[in-house]
């Protein structure tokens, strides 16, 4: 299928540098000019609602609806917080947008701020993105100099300050309320919801938290119209999506496609199929928190609802492909090790459960598993789901449940044979 790229249009421009001049040359900041001159904030919110844009951070919540939750007459300041803390294993699309097309994000930030009445926005960039933070800083300086950010933007009455803040290395600071706590200078520990950030967010003020890719869509929606945008992809998962494809494929990388693409098409037509002509065994379709899919699911559409119906989720759009050299128990050990490392530690089930899950899987992978461990793992997962302040606990549990569901025989072999049947270094 040929698809006219939107967010990564710049990749077709040889020698593109992502500077403000380069961005403007391909039509950048036209949406901002148009919106500030011709549109009221409420109209912009309506347009984004009509576009059907759903959050690209992992939750897939309708963006315009979220903006609409901001109280119209609050005496408190309204904040926009940009989530650039991309940390979901397998995901590397926000990094690309930050490093290669930062002005698209900034234009989205100004438009979103104008729409919700925010005059101070915070851009939280993952601490490890050293180059990315540099690119954002350069872009911000350029935008301020040109008058796209600051006082009386483009001669309008709209003021906006954008603060760039770098994280300090925690996945949990990508959770929206964990991010807010971190931004406020505290430990990145998520808050109970309700209250939701739209009511009580940054400094307990009304706040919208949006992902970097989500905001990158806004200029295009406003310039070319929400109807055009809604025409891309399925009706309930509109617009282009960036899929980060990694693993045992010939051509790993970021692919911008409508969500009508199927998993089969994504892997075999776009990413070149399984490396070395081997056989596909398993696919994680939406980041490590998403339940695994197998060959039988290859024709699922990569939209939020189809993936949910197939027993998984759209998540962050990170597609990790595994061939038949892969030991699924080892995958479980690696995935659970991540959550063990990243749990913030507030909730008992997550703090202790992510550790227990990992230690058990590690033991099984190294041939010291017991019969009882398999059902124990399932019970652990059940006890970890739906009972904590944030969903990291669920994110740790659901994948393991899915590996046991689809590959239980592999686990049982590990226990019976007291060794990993795939040997050391399987799947590398």
């Amino acid at each position: 299928m040929s698809f006219e790229k939107v967010l990564t249009r710049y990749q077709d421009i040889p020698g593109y540098t992502g500077t403000l001049d380069a961005y403007e040359a391909q039509g950048g900041y036209q949406a901002l000019r148009k919106a500030l001159k011709e549109m009221q904030p409420a109209e912009i919110i309506e347009a984004v609602k009509r576009s059907g844009l759903r959050g690209r951070g992992g939750a897939g919540f309708p963006c315009g609806v979220k903006w609409g939750f901001i109280p119209k007459d609050s005496p408190k300041p309204v904040y926009l917080v940009v989530n650039g803390d991309e940390s979901e294993p397998g995901t590397f699309k926000d990094r690309m947008l930050i490093e290669e097309e930062p002005h698209q994000i900034l234009e989205g930030i100004v438009l979103a701020s104008y729409a919700i009445g925010c005059h101070q926005a915070f851009l939280y960039c993952r601490g490890e993105f050293v180059r990315g933070a540099r690119m954002l800083r350069r872009a911000l300086d350029e935008a301020y100099a040109k008058g796209y950010i600051g006082r009386r933007i483009l001669g309008s009455g709209f003021d906006l300050e954008v603060v760039l803040h770098r994280g300090a290395g925690a996945y949990i600071c990508g959770e929206e309320t964990g991010l807010l706590e971190s931004l406020e200078g505290k430990r990145g520990q998520p808050r109970p919801k309700p209250p939701f950030p739209a009511i009580s967010g940054l400094y307990r003020c009304p706040t919208v938290v949006n992902n970097v890719e989500t905001l990158s869509n806004i200029p295009h929606i406003l310039l070319r119209g929400p109807e055009w945008y809604a025409g891309i992809g399925p009706a309930k998962s509109t617009g282009p999506r960036l899929f980060s494809v990694s693993g045992h494929v010939e051509r790993p990388g970021n692919y911008e496609l409508p969500m009508s693409v199927t998993l089969r098409q994504l892997i075999f037509e776009h990413a070149g199929g399984i490396r070395g002509g081997r056989r596909l065994k398993a696919v994680i379709p939406g980041g490590s928190s998403s339940p695994v899919l197998t060959e039988q699911h290859l024709d699922v559409g990569m939209d939020f609802d189809s993936l949910a119906a197939a027993g998984s989720m759209g998540g962050s759009g990170a597609v990790i492909v595994m061939d038949d050299t892969t030991c699924m128990v080892r995958v479980g050990e690696i995935v659970s090790r991540f959550y063990h490392h990243e749990s913030c530690g507030q909730c008992t089930q997550c703090r202790e459960g992510t550790a227990w899950l990992h230690k058990t899987l590690r033991r099984i992978e190294h041939g010291q598993g017991r019969e009882a461990d398999l059902d124990l793992l399932l019970d652990m997962c059940d006890n970890m789901k739906g009972k904590t302040i944030c969903v990291l606990s669920d994110a740790a549990a659901m994948p393991i449940e899915s590996y046991l569901e689809h590959f239980r025989d592999e686990f049982e072999r590990h226990v019976r044979e007291r060794a990993c049947p795939f040997g050391e270094g399987s799947g590398d």
Partner: protein, 556 residues
């Protein structure tokens, strides 16, 4: 005033509150760790999860508002499974220290595990090892392995003394509570974290390895005597080697006085009860100096001398300074002895400026107050003050120095030390009779003809009135050492030898007389005193209650 159902019981809440608070108010237990009524709500431990109709997930009762029409279950099978799982998660790394842990026997982790937890471990993983018996400050020792990260201690230090010495460091399984660099846990309220800690992670250095809770023979409700706040306490007594020993003092909850807390001085500072210098026998002055004399002999000498002085110089040659460390009952009897029966007008309790200038105030904005005696308010309410033309404390010193005052009774005040600007030593040396009582010998007792060993607050029954005017009962937890006798008994003894009678001196019975006098305690007879509960009584409350119409009970 939402009405909700919890476990089929209808509960009408008096105002906005969480499900947990509504349940507590109705006597329904919802197990919890991180929640504490005196601290911010964090909803972290996940123990208090309950099932709420129409909510798909379990809700934490501590931070879910009780809403009109809510139907809550705290014991459905879903809740039971979730709760059992939380305990299982806690026990994964919790060390099996019960045999050597001070918390054993009074431990919410043990208690909830027995009631709600798994009976056996399913884990074969080695437990995480951490620092043990780490001294955090003068009073508290920490065991990081036992800690369940409820963060009550961290929140307490931030929110009550506002010293913030403790924090959580690292994250996830590696989370650990510790002191911030360069800090010690040495705020004036550090001991409260021992009560707050649901497990044996934070324990008392003073009480370490001293007892098991079931070995405590007596847990007496009383009041701390070290300042005018009157924090409500429990005195934990153990019998060891045929002797009763006070091992530990803990605060009792009283929303009006000390909420849930007490200061470290009151909590840990009871060593004075066992000080080696503590007077155990009475002393009388004889040729060679002060020698032990039987109390009966001394009361005889006192009575004789008093008779002689009254005959030669009149009642006005006798005065009395009585400390506001005494109970209301003792103060009343002192007043009756000196003002009513002996008929001298020279009586006073106001030794310190904070008492004479009535400047008692909060010392730290929390609990401690500047008046370091517990019953100045009681002394004022009972008019332990000079009678007509009577002398106050300073006046009595001056009169003693001038030779006009011949006898002075000084009960539990070291005037030499308290009044350094006055010629106290000189004045007291001129007296024909100086009768003192004290817990320990001091520069005032050194000058006395009679030194009586006093009872400490923990060794008597009675009541004290705190700075708010609240009458609070103290109860005897310990036998006094040696020949210490109550002031009431000694005064009655002297009175009888003089042909008088103080009447009933039992603390309860004294209130029959107090209630009949005019003043703030009018109307509080011994029946009313007996009805005073563990939270004390403000006289206004009693008068208001007697004015309110009583609810009627209609038997059908």
């Amino acid at each position: 005033m939402p009405t909700l159902m919890i476990n089929g019981v209808e509960i009408v809440t008096p105002g906005p509150m969480s499900i947990l608070e509504a349940a507590r108010g109705a006597g329904i237990e919802i197990p919890h760790y991180c929640y504490h009524p005196g601290l911010s709500v964090v909803g972290q431990c996940r123990m208090c999860q309950v099932e709420v109709e129409k909510m798909p997930k379990l809700a934490t009762a501590c931070n879910t508002a009780a809403a009109e029409g809510m139907v809550v279950s705290t014991n459905s099978s879903r809740v039971e499974k979730a709760r059992r799982a939380v305990l299982e998660f806690y026990l994964l790394n919790h060390p099996l220290d019960c045999a050597v842990c001070d918390r054993g026997g009074e431990c919410p982790l043990q208690d909830y595990t027995l009631k709600y937890g798994p009976g056996e471990s399913r884990s074969v993983e080695p437990k995480v090892q951490r620092a043990k018996h780490k001294v955090l400050g003068p009073h508290v020792v920490f065991d990081a392995e036992r800690c369940i990260l409820c963060t009550r201690c961290v929140r307490f230090c931030h929110e009550v003394p506002k010293t913030g010495e403790l924090g959580v460091f690292s994250r996830g399984e590696r989370s650990e509570i510790n002191l911030f660099p360069g800090k010690l846990l040495d705020n004036a309220y550090s001991g409260n974290v021992i009560d707050l800690c649901p497990v044996g992670a934070l324990t008392s250095r003073q009480y370490r390895f001293q007892s098991r809770p079931w070995d405590l023979v007596r847990q007496i409700e009383s009041v701390c005597p070290l300042c005018s706040n009157g924090c409500n306490v429990v005195l934990d007594v153990r019998n060891r080697q045929q002797r009763d020993e006070l091992l530990r003092i803990r605060p009792r909850e009283n929303p009006a006085v000390n909420r849930w807390w007490m200061c470290d001085e009151g909590r840990f500072g009871f060593g004075y009860l066992y000080a080696a210098e503590r007077l155990r026998v009475a002393y009388g002055r004889e040729e060679g100096g002060q020698v032990p004399v039987a109390v009966d002999e001394l009361t005889g000498r006192v009575a004789d001398t008093v008779r002689r002085i009254v005959q030669a110089h009149g009642e006005g040659a006798i005065g009395c300074v009585v400390s506001s460390r005494h109970t209301n009952e003792e103060l009343f009897l002192v007043r009756r002895f000196f003002l009513d029966i002996l008929r001298t007008p020279h009586l006073d309790y106001r030794v310190r400026p904070v008492q004479s200038e009535e400047t008692d105030a909060s010392e730290d904005g929390i609990l401690r107050r500047t008046d370091k005696t517990p019953n100045s308010r009681g002394a004022r309410d009972l008019a332990i003050l000079p009678g007509q033309d009577g002398l106050d404390v300073k006046g009595m010193i001056a009169a003693a120095q001038a030779g006009r005052l011949k006898a002075l009774f000084v009960f539990e005040e070291d005037l030499v030390r308290e009044l350094p600007d006055l010629p106290v030593r000189e004045a007291l040396s001129r007296l024909d009779l100086l009768v003192t009582s004290s817990l320990v010998p001091n520069e005032t007792t050194a000058l006395a003809h009679v030194v009586l060993p006093a009872l400490a607050t923990a060794e008597k029954d009675g009541s004290l009135t705190n700075f708010q005017g609240r009458i609070q009962k103290i109860r005897r937890a310990l036998a006094p050492p040696g020949a210490c006798r109550s002031l009431a008994e000694i005064l009655q003894d002297v009175a009888r030898r003089l042909g008088w009678d103080l009447g009933d001196i039992e603390p309860e019975r004294v209130w029959a007389a107090i209630g009949e006098q005019s003043g703030p305690y009018r109307g509080i007879g011994w029946k009313e005193w007996r009805a005073i509960g563990p939270q004390g009584l403000l006289p206004e409350e009693l008068r208001a209650a007697s004015r309110e119409p009583r609810p009627e009970r209609h038997e059908s």
